[in-house]
């Protein structure tokens, strides 16, 4: 009759290195000073979120508190040999969050300015998303501590066909964490593809807490690709705030293979008619990896559409988490929004959690979502085996076929090919 009372969740004790980061001189940080002050106070009041916080119900940030301090002689991060190699790509390299000298082949219409040298107005734009009201501790921390970042401007009426590659090399030689801030502005009628990869040493753990602000002008087009490549120990918390003007089209493809803990948040605000967004994602946690994506699409104007497809394949003791929210504001009529979360759970020690949400305040809408968590189809396995394919190969075929759906959506045939190979290698590698 006396069942145990539920146990309380302990708050995370802030490590000293994080406290000292908050007390660095204001001049070394890049946010407008009043925002720095306020955000710093907010973060100290909130602390790192725990499972008590609905948004962090499934993902624990405790590994951050256990991070080792910086080691000047530590391992250097370098792009892995198998990192995607795209001809004609414009590679922007950031080591420990610091912008490296630009290559020579910068196309016309593209400008890149470090935030520390940016105009006050641009800096204000980069720090526009406010942690206030969101109760977002990591955003507050980033605003308070950001020391690195840049503004990427694509002028109006510019079409850049070559991929713009942002290569983050995260290592612990200067600090065990970096707080980075990026502002990407795509002018009216322009088009670009931005590809982000993150590399970190295999052993020592670095935490990057990143914030990207994306402003798309009318009728512009942006494809943002985030690749978490295999085989390192990094912790990454990354959020994008995307703002779409009239008829703009935003496409995000998020493929996660590596990293110890990856948490991405994509917040798309469709505030003018005719705009559309596609969010595609594939997360393949293995070993003890934790991969988490939270998306939020706000339809704030009538006649806007969105389409979302996320897939998780979890094996070993991996954990995959997806939370997608579609919000249709009052008076935003004629909305079509579809969301699909399909997941494969391959091991009894792995876990998948998904939460597709609809929040709808208008009536003339067509919104739906679907979510499945399942295993490989027994009949398909049997069929393949009856054709002389071994069970393990049949499994592999079905899993790669499932994962390929997202990879095939990538632009550039070379990229599709290279990512397919990486995905297959990730599947067969022992954790």
């Amino acid at each position: 009759m006396s069942a145990p009372m539920p146990r309380a969740i302990e708050p995370i004790v802030l490590p000293d290195w994080l406290r000292s980061a908050l007390s660095q001189p204001a001049s070394t940080r890049i946010a407008p000073s009043d925002q720095q002050m306020m955000s710093s106070e907010q973060f100290l009041a909130w602390g790192l979120p725990t499972a008590r916080d609905e948004e962090w119900r499934w993902t624990s940030l405790r590994p951050i508190a256990r991070l080792a301090i910086a080691d000047a002689k530590g391992e250097q991060a370098a792009p892995a040999d198998d990192a995607p190699h795209l001809p004609h790509a414009l590679v922007i390299r950031l080591v420990g969050g610091q912008l490296q000298p630009l290559p020579k082949n910068v196309p016309a219409g593209l400008t890149l300015t470090p935030l520390s040298h940016a105009h006050e107005i641009d800096r204000a734009a980069a720090f526009q998303p406010s942690a206030q009201g969101r109760n977002d501790a990591l955003l507050a921390l980033n605003t308070a501590c950001a020391t690195e970042g840049f503004v990427l401007d694509i002028a109006a009426n510019t079409v850049i066909t070559a991929p713009i590659v942002l290569e983050w090399l995260d290592n612990n030689t200067r600090s065990n964490h970096s707080q980075t801030r990026v502002l990407i502005r795509v002018g009216a009628n322009s088009s670009a593809t931005v590809l982000e990869t993150t590399h970190a040493p295999l052993q020592s753990t670095h935490w990057r807490n990143a914030v990207s602000v994306i402003e798309q002008g009318a009728n512009s087009q942006l494809t943002q690709i985030s690749l978490g490549l295999a085989g390192d120990a990094r912790l990454l918390t990354d959020r994008s705030f995307v703002h779409l003007a009239r008829d703009a089209r935003y496409r995000s493809i998020n493929i996660q293979l590596g990293g110890q803990l990856t948490r991405r948040e994509i917040d798309v605000n469709i505030s003018e008619s005719g705009a559309h967004c596609d969010l595609l994602g594939l997360m393949m946690p293995r070993g003890k990896q934790v991969m988490d994506t939270h998306t939020r699409i706000t339809h704030g104007a009538p006649h806007t559409t969105s389409n979302e497809q996320y897939q998780i394949i979890a094996d070993d003791a991996g954990r995959g988490i997806f939370k997608g929210r579609i919000l249709v504001a009052e008076d935003a009529q004629k909305i079509e929004a579809y969301q699909n979360s399909r997941n494969l759970l391959l091991s009894n020690t792995a876990e998948i959690d998904t939460k597709p949400e609809l929040e709808i305040y208008a009536d003339d809408v067509k919104c739906s979502h679907g979510a499945t968590i399942g295993r490989l189809d027994d009949e398909a396995l049997y069929y393949l085996q009856s054709r002389g394919i071994s069970r393990s190969n049949a499994r592999k075929l079905l899993i790669t076929g499932f994962a390929q759906e997202i990879i095939d959506a990538l632009p550039y045939p070379e990229l599709v090919e290279q990512m397919s190979a990486l995905m297959r290698a990730h599947l067969s590698d022992a954790p």
Partner: protein
């Protein structure tokens, strides 16, 4: 435009059951402390173990905060301003004497009977015609119980909770709080501390309950929280269908209702729990109405056991309710069928939890919500597959129908899987009544009102089909009341 008006008219309705019955009430002064808990227990002449249990729950409640995660908004409740016990005077005296209960309906306060008649529940008639045993709960103390002997013949115990505490303390001790622990959540802890009365049902091994069991809850006294406690136990191979329906008088002040329902199904047992809820939802400006913060949970403890929740939710200003199933036994089955209608300023945050623990456990969730006026209607559900639940299966369908453009329909499903052999499917849609469908039906000579009626009824059909016969009629009547005013 006229179509829009027609549709709006369909769900706008006045509350039919708004009146107050003037019966002398015995009320403990407002406020809550250990003495009040002791007083409630003493008034009911409870054994020591129950008082201890209440006090433990009360002390735990003091350490808790009200949940804030639901998609509902209301001013903070002053728990010290509420009264925690009220009983119709004559019945309260009886509770103390206990033996001196009314032997027939003639002994019951005629005003009470009149009230049931106004509600369309002629107790004796209904009992006789439908073969239903009605355990009518008037506020806190059970007033009358019928068909007791017939049930006793097969060994079924169906009585008020306070009566069961005296007649079957061993069963209460064995099962109370085993499904919803005293500290489970804020409102469950409050209920555990101050619960007034409710129903107790025990179906012994191998018995199929010969009739549908039914109870009517009514909230009456001003500012009195109603804290019902229901416990249903079905032993091995037993079968029971339990019906619950409610209406409440019209009043301006918000009333809190924090009930706890616990179901226990042992091996091969089946429990079907159906609810039609039509409490006062507040007026068209969102003033008044019942706060319905209920914890309902079934424990499918035995192998091959089955628990079904069916609900039609039309009333209450705020609904916070998640009838859940813990599928503990192998091959156990959990089902949840729900229709939630909200209008004016009603707020609904309701759904279910299916916790799969046993092997080959199966669950089905069908949730239909209809929101109109300025109401907010949210489905919140959890499907959890534990590591042990090999070959578990879940299917979830959540559909929302929007009527008018000033309301909200939301879906918050939590899906968690830790077993690789489990299969989970969830789908949800949100749409309005389609103009094409209305046009088609009108072109076939069906009036707009009937057309909308048909579409809304069709939308809910899957759930109505799951209701027991008597309730299906009542649910359709309820929907018909909702559709009143659309003629002309």
């Amino acid at each position: 435009m006229s179509e829009q008006h027609e549709i709006e008219a369909l769900v706008s309705r006045d509350y039919k059951y708004g009146f107050v019955t003037d019966i002398e009430q015995e009320i403990i002064p407002p406020g809550l402390n250990e003495d009040v808990v002791r007083l409630i227990s003493a008034k009911k002449n409870e054994p020591e173990f129950l008082l201890e249990w209440r006090l433990k729950a009360y002390r735990h409640w003091l350490t808790m905060t009200p949940p804030a995660w639901a998609h509902v908004h209301y001013p903070p409740i002053d728990y010290q301003a509420l009264s925690y016990y009220a009983a119709p005077k004559s019945a309260a005296e009886q509770a103390e004497i206990d033996a001196n209960r009314p032997k027939s309906l003639d002994e019951v306060d005629p005003k009470l009977l009149e009230m049931y008649a106004k509600l369309g529940i002629p107790l004796h008639e209904r009992a006789a015609l439908a073969g239903v045993a009605v355990d009518a709960v008037f506020d806190s103390v059970s007033v009358t119980t019928t068909f007791r002997e017939k049930l006793a013949e097969v060994g079924v115990i169906f009585c008020s909770f306070s009566e069961a505490v005296h007649s079957h303390p061993d069963l209460i001790k064995k099962y109370l709080g085993t499904v919803v622990p005293a500290g489970d959540n804020y409102y469950a802890a409050l209920n555990s501390a101050v619960f007034s009365d409710g129903s107790f049902v025990f179906i012994p091994k191998g018995v199929r309950c010969p009739m549908e069991l039914s109870t009517y809850f009514r909230i009456n006294a001003m500012n009195t929280g109603q804290f019902e406690r229901t416990l249903i136990v079905a032993e091995e191979g037993a079968h029971v269908s339990y019906l619950e329906g409610c209406t409440a008088p019209q009043r301006d002040e918000n009333q809190l209702h924090a009930a706890v329902v616990e179901l226990v199904a042992l091996d091969d047992a089946t429990i079907k729990y159906s609810t039609v809820q039509n409490w006062y939802p507040g007026d068209e400006h969102g003033k008044g109405g019942i706060y319905n913060f209920v914890t309902k949970r079934g424990d499918a403890r035995g192998n091959r056991s089955k628990i079904t929740w069916t609900q039609v939710e039309a009333g209450s200003a705020i609904t916070w309710k998640y009838p859940s199933c813990i599928l503990r036994g192998d091959d156990s089955v959990g089902e949840f069928y729900s229709v939630a209608v909200s209008n004016n300023y009603q707020q609904v945050d309701s759904g279910t939890k299916m916790i799969h623990l046993g092997k080959r456990t199966r669950s089905t969730i069908v949730s239909k919500s209809i929101s109109a006026g300025r109401s907010q209607n949210a489905y919140r559900g959890l499907v959890h597959i534990a590591k042990t639940a090999d070959d578990a299966r879940n299917y979830t369908q959540c559909d929302a129908l929007l009527i008018g453009d000033r309301n909200g329909a939301h879906t918050f499903p939590y899906i968690e899987s830790k077993n690789a052999s489990a299969q989970i499917e969830h789908e949800a849609t949100t749409t309005k009544v389609s103009d094409d469908q209305i046009f088609y039906l009108k072109s076939r000579g069906i009036t707009e009102e009937n057309a909308t009626n048909m579409i809304v009824n069709g939308f809910c059909k899957e759930v109505f089909n799951e209701l027991p016969m008597e309730f299906a009629v009542e649910a359709q009547a309820l929907l018909a009341v909702s559709l009143e005013g659309s003629v002309g």
